[in-house]
């Protein structure tokens, strides 16, 4: 499946795009998504271990499942307030 990933802040700047696509074989976990994302977009490497993943507007752990209908976002540590 192809999963569209929305990027924010420095992740978006490094990738040079607000949305990127990654191909995953089902079933896929967040850890798979994370690996594929960095493989396809090595510009994100400086953020690698700190990148946070959200599925359907909720933080997702590495063992959470990514499905074809998942709304996926990926971003560095937050700094609002």
């Amino acid at each position: 499946m192809n999963v569209r990933v929305r990027l924010f802040a420095r992740a978006r700047d490094l990738a040079g795009a607000e949305f990127v696509e990654v191909s995953l074989s089902e079933p896929a976990l967040v850890s798979d998504l994370r690996r594929e994302l960095l493989a396809r977009h090595p510009a994100l490497t400086p953020l690698g271990p700190t990148l946070l993943v959200a599925i359907d507007n909720q933080y997702a752990r590495d063992d959470a499942v990514v499905g074809p209908a998942s709304d996926v976002a990926c971003f560095p540590p937050v700094s609002g307030g």
């Binding site: 420095r10 400086p46 507007n57 933080y59 560095p76 609002g80």
Partner: protein, 144 residues
């Protein structure tokens, strides 16, 4: 009264505070985050705030629900500014009212602490040397 807002306009913290005042409340705590000039010895000219709006709002609702389960909150209102902010401008205003002051202080502190940890909003420093830098606590090195 519960209110959570993201806005590109300057924040009217008086309107926010009036929203939470109540005859049931003996205490109101308002917190303002403002754009500070010096950070670790460097001079900031401005900040840019970016957000993941849908998740930012749902996460703020979650945090507010947590606070309500811990303290008897009469009313609470949070507004976060997005976009370009000059020195001294207000990036966040958070008002909470409770029967008693300890509750209002503790709930206000919880809300801002959790918000800063969890809500997907990011700021970018505009340093006075012309460079910009996303602030990503724990991530390595400077950016562009």
């Amino acid at each position: 009264m519960r209110s959570i807002v993201l806005t590109n306009e300057p924040i009217d913290y008086t309107a926010l505070t009036e929203q939470v005042r109540s005859h049931e409340a003996g205490a109101v705590v308002l917190f303002l985050g403002t754009v500070r000039e010096m950070t670790s010895g460097r001079r900031t000219l401005a900040l840019d705030y970016d957000a993941f709006p849908a998740m930012a709002e749902s996460t703020m609702r979650e945090i507010l629900a947590e606070a309500e389960s811990r303290w008897p909150i009469v009313a609470a209102a949070i507004v976060h500014r997005l976009g370009h902010l000059d020195l001294g401008e207000i990036s966040i205003a958070l008002a909470v009212s409770c029967g008693h002051r300890a509750q209002a202080f503790e709930a206000g502190r919880y809300l801002i602490d959790e918000l800063k940890q969890r809500v997907p909003i990011w700021k970018k420093e505009n340093w006075d040397d012309g460079t910009t830098e996303w602030v990503h606590p724990g991530a390595e090195g400077p950016s562009a």
